[in-house]
Amino acid sequence: MSSTPLLYGLCAVALFAIGLLGAFLHSGLLTRLLAVNVSGSGVLLLFVVLAYQGAGQRPDPVPHALVLTGLVVAVSATALALMLGRWLQRPEQEPEPETEQDQE
């Protein structure tokens, strides 16, 4: 029995925890976003470790597919958050886009 799953399993849990901690400690959007991404990588790594059946064995393809989905979701969420962050950073002088009052 190789120690591969054990090592990466521990790594996955550590990444998950580090990400959670970072998301809690930071208040800036960018750093929190990085933290969430790291945490997500930890969870995805956990799936891949579960799929691993040992050297020379074919791995379980289902977690791989799930992780692929998870990766794409993560990058889209990151993109959305960065766009909103950039929105907040825009200078104030532009006409305040749309408060509900002028939606009449």
């Binding site: 998950f16 945490s39 997500g40 959305l80 929105w87 907040l88 509900e100 009052q101 939606q103």
Partner: protein
Amino acid sequence: MTNLLVWPVLLSLAAALGTLIAPSNAARIATVAAALSLWSVLLLLSAVIAEGPQWLILGGWPQGLGIALHADPLSALFLLMSAAVCLAATIFARRYVEHSRYRSQFWPLWLLLQTAIYALLLAADLFNIYVTLELLGLSAVTLSALGGSRAAVQAAVNYLILGLLGSLLFLAGIALIYGRYASLDLQLLARVVEPGPSLWVAMALMTAGLVLKSALFPLHFWLPAVHANAPAPVSAVLSALVVKVAFYLIMRLWLDLFNPAVMSTAADLFGVFGALAIVWGSWQAMFTARLKLLAAYSSIAQLGYLFLFLSLVLVMPEGEDRQLLLGALVLFALSHGFAKSALFLAAGTVQQYAGHDRIAELRGVAGQLPLTFFSLGLAGVALIGLPPSGSFLAKWQLLSTTLLAGQWYWVAVVVVGSLMACVYMFRVLSVAFGEEGVATQRIHSRREELPTLALAVTATLILGLGGVWVWRVLDVGAAGGLG
């Protein structure tokens, strides 16, 4: 096996594409899609009543390989509420976003949000639930950011990060379950799960994620800013459906999947935090300055009731009493869904009409918006839990159950919460029905007040008088469940 199960999802998704390609007809497409979704949900509900729970495994693959969809009385009732609220809010939104600069993106996003709600209520596969949760979260975030103000976008960003954390916790739980049981299908899992470290930790992680998304006290802090700053129809759907769908998932998982591992301490925690949410949310609602914030805080309190209900249901032994209380829970959730969406739509009308929603300055507005304030009053009746509303029946059931069990402390919480709800609702109404009038800003169309009225009437009268029907429908599936 019937394709009926995918219709609500598919209709909304196809309509989202339609509005994307043909922005000029978007409002019409969205209304038709919402109406058709409601129709398909009604068909589904009648199928559930006639034939029992419905299943579909997509792609025609064997169970476990393909993704399963599932509708039982519980999910069908939530679907019905969602479809009805969505239709009303869609009709309301037509006028609301008519001149918005975001309207060509609003409609596809709006329909994607509905897609996510229906998909989540129908999902019977753990990873599929995760994907729908993400779709729900991201579409809700984007729509709430379309409020367009700095406060709205800031709130949306916080909502996004917390939502992502919630989904991550949920996903980590899925990983643990997959690691132990090598399946994602809820029905298959329900047959094999057994108490043990995997299930306990997975339960804790998944519940924590969902609790964050359903804004149970003390994890509610993101909610008021989001719901108060989003466009009114979006707030209505967020408050009435999005938060509640997360609650639905908790209920679903705890009643079916986690059932063998439910411990009374864990269930009691739901009750304690639910009670705290009732008191704290109502307290904030009593003193807040803005109408939409009031509605948002009221949501926190009302979600507290749902968790209180759930904690009592969970510790009850299987049997008629449990079924009665579960029916009360569902009835309460439905009434709140209709009443809260009515309240937010009314607030939206007020805001458009008066140019703000500061409660203290709404003196006399009721005279100019009688229909809206009538709806607001009706919604208040349901939120307080006065007869003849559906929530009155539900609370009544709750009180009688707790009294019989000698749990007077829950009785106290419910009574205090209801009294506080009286205070915050009457505070609005007494100001609005006051003497002075404000200058009329524009000619108002009665037509856009109708969806609000319809929702409020449903919450108060239809669910109140037809509450027994909810219990009867739920009884159809009493033997069913997922197991």
